[in-house]
Symmetry: C2
Subunit: 307 residues, 2 copies
Amino acid sequence: MSLLTVGTVAFDSIETPFGNAERIIGGSCTYIAKSASYFTPGVNIVAVVGGDFPQTEIEKFQKQNINTEGLQIRPNEKSFFWKGRYHLDMNSRDTLVTDLNVLADFDPIIPESYQDCKFLLLGNLTPDIQRLVLERLRNRPQLIVMDTMNFWMEVALESLLKTLKMVDVLSINDEEARLLAKENSLVKAARKILTMGPRFLIIKKGEHGALLFHEKEVFFAPALPLEEVFDPTGAGDTFAGGFIGYLAKTNDISFENMKRAIVYGSAMASFCVEKFGPEALDSLTEAQIQNRVQAFKSLSSFDIVLK
Amino acid sequence: MSLLTVGTVAFDSIETPFGNAERIIGGSCTYIAKSASYFTPGVNIVAVVGGDFPQTEIEKFQKQNINTEGLQIRPNEKSFFWKGRYHLDMNSRDTLVTDLNVLADFDPIIPESYQDCKFLLLGNLTPDIQRLVLERLRNRPQLIVMDTMNFWMEVALESLLKTLKMVDVLSINDEEARLLAKENSLVKAARKILTMGPRFLIIKKGEHGALLFHEKEVFFAPALPLEEVFDPTGAGDTFAGGFIGYLAKTNDISFENMKRAIVYGSAMASFCVEKFGPEALDSLTEAQIQNRVQAFKSLSSFDIVLK
């Protein structure tokens, strides 16, 4: 089933305790599309870059079956740039630089050929732009997944709450869930957020896994214990890309299938953090993905027969 | 199968953001024995209390089928006392008072009737005393599980390493694993600790679940997402008590069965934190435990059929 994602395609500079990477390719849309491309052909992207963005990277998208018709290029401007530094525990980071550049007045134009998309993932952007995308789609997609971040909860809460009413699945991390719901208990926070619009809530806990809430049900997928987390940048987006990619591939948005999608998303994220930037997402094989999912099965399965 | 646990029986004063409890019953041996008693009859304890310890509490142990023959009472002395305060996130705490009292010169005498015990859980005590217990048992138990804490890694590392060589399973939390192995990655830490003596390593991550490592295998059990964590005191001991209680009941120490034991231990810990002190462990029913284990199954099970 056709999939559309809207977000950022950008440059990142990343400092971790294990090394630095200067101006590598990043952005939510990049991670989402590359991750989803392993599940469903023809992932459609809407994003904007400047003239400094390498043509070779655009060709790499295309080789991965990612449709770049909606990727706007502004030759005389610069791409969005983010620089961050991870702390020793890799669970927290400081933002050192945010240069909006082309993103400052991003107008998300939807190519005509994207109009029939059934699965939509709104990557982290201002909630105004996310809503604009929804308004510009003539038919409501079958499933709308929204990612966002604490920043918008602090500076644009009203707009965020409006967008929230229009989506099916919200994907945020544990801190953001607590902030949005003003509840310290994640269970209480989840219950509250499920009254704000989305019918499904994913709470990402980084190295501690991810929770999926729906009505009275809850599912938990662990993160794979890894020897080395090299660079967590983009892990959440990679997770979301695998999640929606799997749903689009199987065309099944039941809670049971979403559980599987969460596991596939977690598997994709586990690859992402093993290398700098999105590099690990450039050349995975079907067998590698299946092996990783098998590792998740082994990690969390047990057989207890209850009376 | 017969089970022996050695640890503390004590008074705790606990401050949490949700309230305070003054001089309630606590201690590692208390939580372990009460938790294990739901799985196997005749849990044997070795511990020491002062004359201030209420006879009614000893009778409660006995009503729960806990054998108190090895509980030494020193009429003219005072019981071990600990006072702690939890931070708002309930994941960290400060120790405000530690009065060793009777614990200062605790001599773990093993009653003759305990000598045939097949399952031994060494609760958190000085590693010297833990080793003394092992030396005083004429026959090596079939399974020896050891709990310890960061404090002994700092002040008695050499003795701790000696004890470690004599046990089958070590149960510690994530911080302690990193400290003991001097490795930030839990996977690397686990691999290192598995060369120090124990064949199995449990790493407890509190609200983030627990990991079981053995040779090249790893199993993860989540913690149940709870609406309210009321008091985390004793959760780790309750977990360990459920773990070894289940193993003793089933008399099966295979890795597969240890996975089940981890789930039962996690279920018991989830009850523990819902009330102050060990109160929740006084009157559980078989049905409540089965329902809780069912909740763990629902939480973490998914069906992905791989090629």
